[in-house]
Each structure stands twice: as C-alpha cells, then as structure tokens.
C-alpha cells in the first residue's frame, strides 16, 4: 500500500476532477459541448490509464483528501476492483461519447444538456469507485442518481418523463435508506471511513439494521428482482447513449458499492444474507429473460435483458468462493461493454427505421451490417458463448458452483444462457427477414455504428485476455478478503 502523498500528479484525484471541470466547461460554452466533451472524455481516459500504471507499480492506493486522514478527513481508496471499474467506465464512456457525437446530430432529443450531465455523471461514477468513506459515497451516489435521471429525461417523450420520474423516486428512496445506514454506523462506531469501520464493526443490532438498509438500498438501485420494476421503462425510453450508460455503468456502480460494503465494512456480519441474494439473483435471471423474450420492442427487450443479466452478479453472494467473485466482477465488466454496445446498436436501429418493433426490423442485417454485427457480438457475450467476456465470467461462476457441488446454480446459469440466446436470436432472426410494409430509412452516422462495434469487439476481446483483469483484481480488494485462492 502506498500513501500517495508527494506524488506530483495524484491521478486518483484527477479522475474525479477532470470530468467535473469538463462538465463546467461544457456548461459554460454549450456550443463547444461536443469538442469539450470529447476532449474531457479522452483526458479522463488518460488519467484512468495513468492511475492504472500507478496502481500496478505501487499496489493499493490510499489518498487522504486535505491531508487529514481518517477518521476526521475523507480517504480515497483504489485497489484492483476500483481500477477495473474505472477502466470499464472510461472505456464505455469514451465509446458513448463518440456515439453521442453522431446521435444528437439527428435526434429530436435535447442535446444541450447531454454533455455536462454526462460528465457530471462520470464524476459521480469515478468518485464512487475511489471513495473510501461511506458518507462521501452517499454524495457520489446522489450525483450519479440525479444525473442519470436528468439524462433519461432528455428524451422528453411521455415514456421517458414517466420513466425518469419513477427512476428518481427509486433513486432517492435508495439513497435515503443508505443514509440511515450511514447514520447508524457513524453513531455506533464514530467514523465513516470504510477501512476503519471494517476493523470496528461487530455483531450488534445497529450493525445489522444498517446492513439490512444499505443492502436493500443497493438492491433497489441495482434493480435486483423483485425491485427491478423501475429499470425497463427508464432504460428503454432514454436516448440511446444514455440507455447505454445506465445499463452499462450506473447499475454497476450500486453493485460495486454493495460489494464494498459487503466485504470491507460488514465482512464479519454479512455472510448470512448471501443465500437470499443468490436466490433473488437466480429468480432475476429467469424472470428477466422470460420478460425480455416476451417484449415486442427492441429497447425494452434489451432493458429486460439487463434485469436478467444483473441476476448473475448476485450469484457469487451465495457461492462464496474467490472464484465466484472473480466471475461476478468479470460479469460486471463484460456486461457493461456488451450491453452498452447492444443499446447503441438498438439506438442505431431505432434511428434508422424510426421504430424499434422487433417483428418489423426489415432486413437490418443487410442494411445496417455494422450495427447488426455489434448487436450479435454483444449478444454472444450476453449468452456467455466463447470467446467472450461473458463466457469467462460464466466459466468462473460455473467452476465455483460445480467445485462445491452446488448444482442448482449451475442449472440456473445454463437456463439463463439459453434464454439469453433465445431473446438475442429472436432479434437476429427478424433482422434477416423483410417487413410487410418496408419503411423509409434515415441515414445513421458512422460514429454511431463504429462506436457500437468497437465496444462489442471489446466485450469479445475481454474473453481472450482474461488474465489481465484477473491479475488486476488480485491487487487488494475484497476478493482477497474472502479466502486465499484454491
């Protein structure tokens, strides 16, 4: 562990400040929004990469903001897990930024707000991933939640406004539940620093109630079945780049937070709950997939697919082995890339044909080959077929389940994979056929097509270079808390 003081450029700070500064600049000069936004995205990506190398060199980073240190001050903290999340956000973020360049040119959605809101959301994401303090996490959570809501509402359709409204209520309710947990923990242990809390927390009523509330809050925000009701309307009605961001990153942030709390704060008390989360996760896989299969609109299908895929993330809570954890985190990464690509592809199809009725896709396989390739590659990852990030994740989870003879989980995963295949190919099948009434097509910007493809390819590549992320994950972080690798 290094105290990152005296380092001339503490990248851990810049990954938060850069998007924030970018957001302000975009707000000040809205006409230069695109340029400034893109520059900020690239700068943030570079800062994240720099932090990555810093982490590789020196191991886990702890940074005392204001020099005070815990418990008085706020600590920033980055280990392998945070780094993976930062990298994921940066990758998806740059992809979506490029996509947005094309998207808002033709879309009726309001473009002026997009850049500052998105960059503020990025600030919230990065802030959340490196926060080492549960109250600070609350603030980042609010930054994230409110910007997400505002971004959904950019679409300004009835559906989007309703979806945003519901999303806002859920988000605020979740934050307040979380804040009660923070209040209980602070008043029980006199600190909000995660590392300190981890050493202090013991079994007592306040801890248990705090755990319960915080877990429920995070489940609500990460839309675990049966708390997923808000997700499909919000994700499906948002502008395409926003849908991509929400499904890829925002729900993952609350999952990440849950992971942190689970292992770094509540490690001594949390384990009993794991089975419940696992069962809910399994239910989510089936329920989400079945509903996805029943959708007639493409974006809703993709949104329900998110509900299903999020279920996998909660299986490790029941499987309780380092392998399962690696699998869970890998799932986060691969789903982020794949789902972003898929939503972007869906956005292209919507922009192209002016609708997203699946049965009337009308030869998009021929007419939008790049988009369709992106969709299919992303689908491969969602189905968990090799070679893709989704496959590696599923492999790890299966390995964890089978090596402890936990058959039920393996069966659930298989069913989930097959259902995923069913809904992906439902779309693909109609992409080849001709609609009864052919419609006139709008041109789709190459930025939109290629950025979707790029992210989808990344999702595939994730399946071929699994050891880099896994090695990174091994730097500090909760996974090493569980038990040594077998």
């Amino acid at each position: 562990m290094i105290e990152a003081s005296g380092t001339p450029l503490p990248w851990i700070v810049w990954v938060i400040l850069l998007p924030l500064i970018g957001a302000m600049l975009c707000f000040l000069w809205p006409r230069q929004g695109k340029t400034l936004g893109l520059l900020t995205a690239l700068a943030t990506l570079l800062a994240v990469i720099a932090l990555y190398f810093q982490l590789l060199d020196g191991g886990v980073i702890r940074y005392a903001v204001g020099g005070w240190g815990a418990p008085l001050g706020i600590a920033l903290y980055a280990d392998g897990l945070s780094m993976l999340m930062l990298l994921m956000s940066a990758l998806v973020g740059v992809g979506v930024s490029l996509y947005a360049l094309g998207y808002f040119k033709h879309s009726p959605d309001n473009p002026a707000g997009f850049w500052p809101l998105w960059l503020l959301m990025w600030t919230g994401l990065n802030g959340l991933f490196v926060a080492g303090d549960i109250f600070n996490l609350y603030v980042t959570l609010e930054l994230l939640g409110l910007s997400a809501v505002a971004l959904v509402a950019l679409a300004a359709s009835r559906d989007a406004l309703g979806g945003a409204m519901r999303y806002l209520f859920v988000s605020l309710l979740g934050s307040l539940c979380y804040l009660i947990g923070v209040a209980l923990l602070y008043h029980a242990y006199g600190t909000v620093d995660i590392a300190l809390l981890g050493t202090l927390v013991e079994r007592n009523p306040a801890t248990h109630v705090a755990l319960g509330l915080m877990v429920v809050a995070m489940l609500l925000k990460s839309a675990l079945f049966p708390l997923h009701f808000w997700l499909p309307p919000a994700h499906a009605s948002a502008p395409a780049p926003v849908s991509a961001l929400l499904s890829a990153l925002v729900v993952k942030a609350s999952f990440y937070l849950l992971l942190r709390l689970w292992f770094d704060v509540f490690s001594t008390v949390s384990m009993d709950l794991g089975m419940v989360l696992g069962v809910l996760g399994a239910a989510a896989i089936v329920w989400g997939s079945v509903l996805a299969l029943r959708q007639t609109r493409l974006k809703l299908l993709v949104a329900y697919s998110t509900v299903a895929q999020l279920g996998y993330l909660f299986l490790p809570f029941a499987l309780l082995s380092p392998l399962a954890w690696q699998g869970g985190v890998y799932f986060v990464l691969s789903h982020a890339l794949a789902k972003a690509a898929m939503f972007m592809a869906a956005g292209n199809i919507l922009a192209f044909g002016g609708h997203d009725r699946i049965a009337d896709l009308d030869r998009v396989a021929q007419r939008l080959p790049i988009t369709m390739t992106a969709f299919c590659l992303a689908g491969v990852s969602l189905m968990g077929l090799p070679p893709s990030g989704g496959f590696i994740a599923k492999w790890l989870l299966l390995d964890a389940a089978l090596s402890h003879d936990q058959w039920g989980w393996a069966v659930m995963m298989m069913i989930g994979g097959l259902l995923a295949a069913a809904y992906v190919f439902k779309v693909v099948g109609f992409a080849f056929t001709q609609a009864d009434a052919p419609h006139d097509a709008q041109p789709v910007s190459p930025f939109m097509e290629w950025s979707a493809l790029a992210l989808a390819v990344c999702a595939i590549l994730l399946g071929l270079n699994a050891h880099y992320p896994l090695e990174l994950l091994a730097i500090g972080g909760p996974v090493t808390f569980v038990s040594p690798s077998p």
Binding site: V139, S157, L161, M165
Partner: protein, 102 residues
Amino acid sequence: MSTPLLYALAGVGLCLLGLYGLIVYAHLLRKILALNIMGSGVFLILVALARRSGDSPDPVPHAMVITGIVVAVSATALALVLLVRFSAATGRNQLDDDEHSP
C-alpha cells in the same frame, strides 16, 4: 428518555411517515413531499444522536446534514421540474400504471 433518543425516534417516525406517503399516494407532488419528509427524518436521526456527546455536540453530523439538505433541495428542484414537464406532456399528475405496479 433522553432528548437525543426522543428526537432520533421522532426521526424514525418521520422516515416511516414519508415512506408510507411515498408508497401510498399517487399524486407526484405528494410523493415529493413524502420524500422530503423522509429525508428530514433521516437528518433528524443523524443530528439527534450527535447530541449524545455531552456539552458540545459532534459537529460532523451537522456538516453532513447541511450537505444533505442542499442535496435534498437539488433533488427536489429536479423532481419538480420533471413533474412540470411530465404534467404538461401527459396532462396527468400521477404515473400511468400507478394502480398496479409496486
């Protein structure tokens, strides 16, 4: 019962009142009110318990609550703008399927 405890329990009461209102009432403005009341309840818990330290109360929760209040007003403002837009677009003040979704 000590003062901090009394207020903290009142905070719990406000939280639950807010939660109840959020779930039960359909009008979006009422939901927003309910969330604000719930938020006040949480703040009350946070500050009340800070009073347990004797003569001078613990200032850290106070600072947190001030932060919280500003966040709450930001959220409320956003919610209200959204509500106005929603109301203008749909002519309604409640969510469409509020009768059958949880």
